[in-house]
């Protein structure tokens, strides 16, 4: 767990309201309203996608939607920047391979 629950300046974290998401096929809890990337990071998941040509792992780099390193397939939609997209109850999140596939694509 990497959540900063108590902090010398920010104080104790308020009681967390949880939502359920599915990450790479496995159920996971996320804090309501938080960014997908933050939820994954809290669980120690740091690879968001693999590059197209060399299959290199990529993860959090800018954290504010500028660099696209954190793109994943969310609810079947590829290229979603997870650092600026909040979790929702029932969301499915998958590590993206290359440019990703749309749900239903072969």
């Amino acid at each position: 767990m990497m959540r900063v629950t108590s902090h010398p300046v920010l104080g104790e974290m308020k009681e967390i309201e949880w939502v359920n998401i599915t990450v790479n096929g496995k159920p996971m809890k996320a804090k309501k309203g938080e960014m997908i990337l933050a939820a994954l990071l809290a669980e120690g998941i740091i690879v968001n996608r693999y590059t197209t040509k060399k299959q290199e792992p990529r993860g959090l780099f800018c954290g504010i939607g500028q660099c696209t390193d954190c793109m994943m397939v969310v609810n079947g939609i590829p290229n979603v920047r997870t650092c600026i997209t909040p979790v929702e109850e029932g969301m499915t999140v998958e590590v993206q391979d290359g440019l990703g596939k749309w749900r239903g694509d072969k």
Partner: protein, 371 residues
């Protein structure tokens, strides 16, 4: 088409302050911000600012942020969130991509009389073997995670760069529970303010001056950093390499103004390293070489939250005056006071270069308008 009197691109300290100042005089303002919450970088700045009390020393960025948002609310400033300005066109038309959900976006055009570009800055990257590995990230990214989302991006951190961002973020990551393995600075001296540096050295955190990062090692995540001493020609001193066990490398290598919108608006730009790179020229009123387009904050040259606030206020006053909401005597009085405060903020060890660069920006504006 949606109409407004003043449209502010970016709701950080600069944009919010511009909006407040203008709205107080009676201008109808719309702020457009790409994020879920306005405030820009302020909500990551959990430490107290310093300077004189006039400059909000002793107040934390997060508290200043809340205060500015409350003022906007009280003044009925309209704020569009999750909305990205994607274009600035002729006749003061601005195109906005409004994100409604994962799949739904709406493109909205707004016709305005005045535009304020307060888009802030983006972080510079440093490239070295392994820099794309997960675990290598911007210092701002780590700060956003720890202070805003309250998730620690890693447990053993090496910071690249000893400027104020590098120092402050190192301290904040430590407050959030991470171990700072060290700070690497290629220059022979620490770059940021001594007060920030001493907070870290007191905790026994080594600051490797005269060192650079050579390589990040790891497969799915960085697990080692190799650093080494630099020669004057930037080659590595043989045998000086040190390998550190880390799970995170954060890069605090400075910021550059986000100038895309100024570029689209046809504003003349100048390049100065003390501004962080390319930035639009502007006049005493913060108006760029394109009439009715103003600029404030990091977008006009990277500085600090305090200067961003003052520059924003300048835009607000100038626009209120230009639209007839403030008489020129009153406006002049306010502008003078703001410029005096800005001069105060640009004093001191790191201020002289910035003052010089800001002066050049004003001069280049005059040259461009005469030429």
């Amino acid at each position: 088409m949606k109409q407004c009197e003043m449209l502010v691109i970016g709701g950080g300290p600069a944009g919010l302050s511009a909006a407040i100042e203008a709205a107080e005089a009676g201008v109808q303002v719309v702020i457009i911000d790409a994020n879920e919450k306005a405030g820009g970088q302020l909500f990551k700045q959990i430490h107290k600012f310093f300077g004189s009390s006039m400059h909000r020393a002793g107040t934390r960025g997060i508290d200043i942020g809340e205060e500015l948002l409350q003022k906007c609310k009280d003044l009925n400033v309209e704020i569009w969130l999750n909305s990205l300005v994607i274009g600035v066109y002729d006749n003061n038309v601005v195109a906005v991509d409004v994100k409604k959900s994962l799949t739904e976006h709406e493109l909205v055009k707004v016709q305005t009389k005045k535009i304020v570009i307060a888009t802030g800055a983006s972080e510079n990257a440093v490239k070295f073997p392994g820099w794309t590995l997960p675990g290598v990230m911007g210092a701002g990214a780590a700060q956003t995670m720890a202070n805003f989302h309250r998730v620690l991006p890693g447990k053993k951190v090496l910071m690249i760069g000893s400027g104020n961002v590098g120092l402050i973020v190192s301290y904040q990551l430590m407050q959030a529970g991470a171990e700072i393995v060290g700070i690497v600075e290629a220059q022979p001296n620490i770059n940021g303010y001594a007060v920030h540096a001493s907070k870290l050295t007191r905790e026994g955190i080594p600051i490797y001056t005269g060192y650079t990062i050579i390589e990040a090692k790891g497969k799915e995540r960085v697990n080692q950093a190799v650093i080494g001493k630099v020669n004057p020609d930037w080659s590595i001193v043989e045998g000086s390499e040190i390998t550190l066990d880390v799970d995170t490398i954060t890069i605090g290598a400075g910021l550059k103004p986000l100038i895309g919108m100024a570029y689209m608006g046809g504003c003349k730009l100048i390049n100065d390293r003390f501004l962080g790179g390319w930035a639009p020229c502007h006049n005493y009123n913060m108006e760029t070489t394109t009439k009715n387009i103003y600029v404030a904050g990091d977008a006009s040259g990277v500085e600090e939250a305090n200067t961003a606030i003052e520059e924003g206020k300048l835009c607000g006053v100038s626009i209120a005056e230009s639209l007839g909401y403030l008489d020129s005597t009153k406006a002049e009085e306010l502008k003078k006071a703001i410029w005096n405060r800005l001069a105060g903020l640009r004093e001191g060890a790191h201020g002289t270069e910035r003052t010089g660069a800001k002066q050049k920006q004003l001069e280049e504006y005059t040259k461009a308008m005469e030429g």
